[in-house]
């Protein structure tokens, strides 16, 4: 699991605001403060939930618009990160529906700059894109909650305990979601192999 801490979302799960809120129920949460503390967490969560790079900024804004409207409904019974993640789920779901309506589902945004830097070999580049496309299709086959767990565990390398803490669910639930997600992913990849893509690479 090494390395996940360096990519870990900021802030940590137990945050200043959340701590204040728990300690003093009268503390008024301010949406811009929440943005300062949690924008990165929301940004990453939206990616984990499959929001395409071209829609990420809009989705981020959508999440905080909802936060702004619903802030008075937040109670300290759950962690702020969990509450925010729930909002991310709904926003990502809406974006997913919209992308489906626009026939964008499963299409990787290949114009998005790669974090890996330019690849010298065009063939290797093409293969990588193809792998990313298939991976994305496999992820699309999962329910959003399971997708998030799968991405955090398998791609980001986060330990199950950290995932459980973020989502505010028992570690056992993380394992069961992961188990189902793996089965769904494997089945989706197997289906891809049975139905080769018409037209080759994008």
């Amino acid at each position: 699991m090494k390395g996940w801490r360096s990519r870990r979302h900021s802030p940590s799960v137990t945050t200043t605001l959340a701590a204040n809120r728990l300690a003093e129920p009268d503390v008024v949460l301010d949406v811009t403060q929440l943005h300062d503390e949690y924008a990165d967490f929301v940004w990453r969560s939206l990616q984990r939930l499959g929001v395409q790079p071209s829609s990420l900024e809009d989705a981020l804004q959508d999440v905080f618009v909802v936060v702004h409207r619903r802030l008075d409904t937040y109670d300290a019974s759950s962690k702020i990160s969990t509450w925010l993640f729930g909002i991310c789920l709904r926003v990502a779901s809406a974006h997913r529906r919209r992308a489906y309506m626009n026939h964008e589902q499963g299409n990787l945004d290949l114009n998005e700059p790669s974090d890996d830097g330019p690849l010298a070999d065009p063939e290797e580049n093409a293969m990588r894109h193809e792998a990313q496309r298939r991976l994305e299709q496999g992820l699309e086959a999962m329910a959003l909650e399971r997708r998030a767990v799968f991405v955090m565990f398998e791609i980001e390398g986060m330990p199950a305990t950290a995932i459980a803490e973020i989502l505010d669910i028992p570690a056992g639930t993380v394992h069961s979601r992961l188990h189902k997600a793996r089965a769904e992913f494997t089945a989706a990849i197997a289906r891809q192999e049975l139905t080769p893509r018409v037209g080759g690479l994008p």
Binding site: M1, T32, D58, V65, H68, F153
Partner: protein, 237 residues
């Protein structure tokens, strides 16, 4: 529950899966520019409601008054007229002038007609009553029609506000358009919102995003008026 190992580390991954996972890009971090832009838009949005709520309150009071007048004119007055002055209609419907008065009658009706109930109806009072009786056959909108109207009205309201903000404060315009997108998604006026987004992005100096948004809009509405409006806005890009 035993500890699970990542597929990439355990070598138990099904065939081909490890290669796909190895190609995955982990979520990229939020860059400072996007973060600052998002925060600015959010701050603008949070500043809006206090002023907007007063405007909406005034508008809703005005809307309530107009609706009350219409209901009174359409439902109450015809009933009163049917019982009190059944013969007052015929002479009035002869002139076009009376017909022109029709359009203003609903607002005036509760004020003018009710006090005249005790007096004998004059030519002018009959003139204002005539169209009301004429309208009594009109059906009131059903609740679902009303809901659609309300929804569309709200869409128009948001987009109009965004349009007005475009030239003075494109950030706030963008925040208002975000609000529309969140509330209505692919609502009736989605294309108009997209067009306004293109303009707002241009005014914010985010030309690349504006061009991408314009391409999306063109794809959604090929051959539409939006194509011409976009060409006017962006040139040939």
């Amino acid at each position: 529950m035993t500890n699970m190992q990542r597929w990439l580390e355990s070598e138990q991954a099904p065939q081909g899966v490890a290669e796909l996972l190895a190609a995955a890009r982990p979520p990229r971090p939020l860059d400072a520019v996007t973060r600052a832009r998002s925060r600015r838009r959010l701050a603008t949005m949070t500043a809006l409601p206090a002023a907007a709520s007063v405007v909406f309150w005034i508008k809703s009071v005005a809307l309530g008054a107009v609706l009350g007048s219409v209901v009174t004119a359409v439902v109450v007055v015809p009933k009163w007229h049917a019982t009190a002055v059944p013969s007052a209609v015929a002479p009035v419907t002869q002139t076009n002038r009376a017909g022109r008065a029709v359009q203003r009658a609903p607002e005036q009706a509760p004020v003018e007609v009710v006090p005249e109930a005790s007096a004998a109806p004059s030519a002018t009072s009959a003139a204002s009553a005539a169209p009301i009786i004429g309208n009594s056959n009109r059906t009131l909108p059903t609740p679902s029609e009303q809901a659609i109207d309300d929804r569309l009205g709200r869409e128009i309201q948001l987009l109009e506000r965004a349009r007005q903000l475009l030239s003075v404060d494109p950030n706030r315009a963008m925040a208002t358009l975000d609000e529309h997108r969140l509330e209505f998604g692919s609502g009736t006026l989605m294309l108009e919102r997209q067009f306004l987004e293109v303009e707002a992005l241009l005014r914010l100096g985010r030309r690349d995003q504006a061009i991408a948004r314009a391409a999306d809009l063109r794809a959604r509405a090929p051959g539409s008026l939006y194509e011409r409006r976009l060409s006017h806005l962006l040139g040939n890009e």
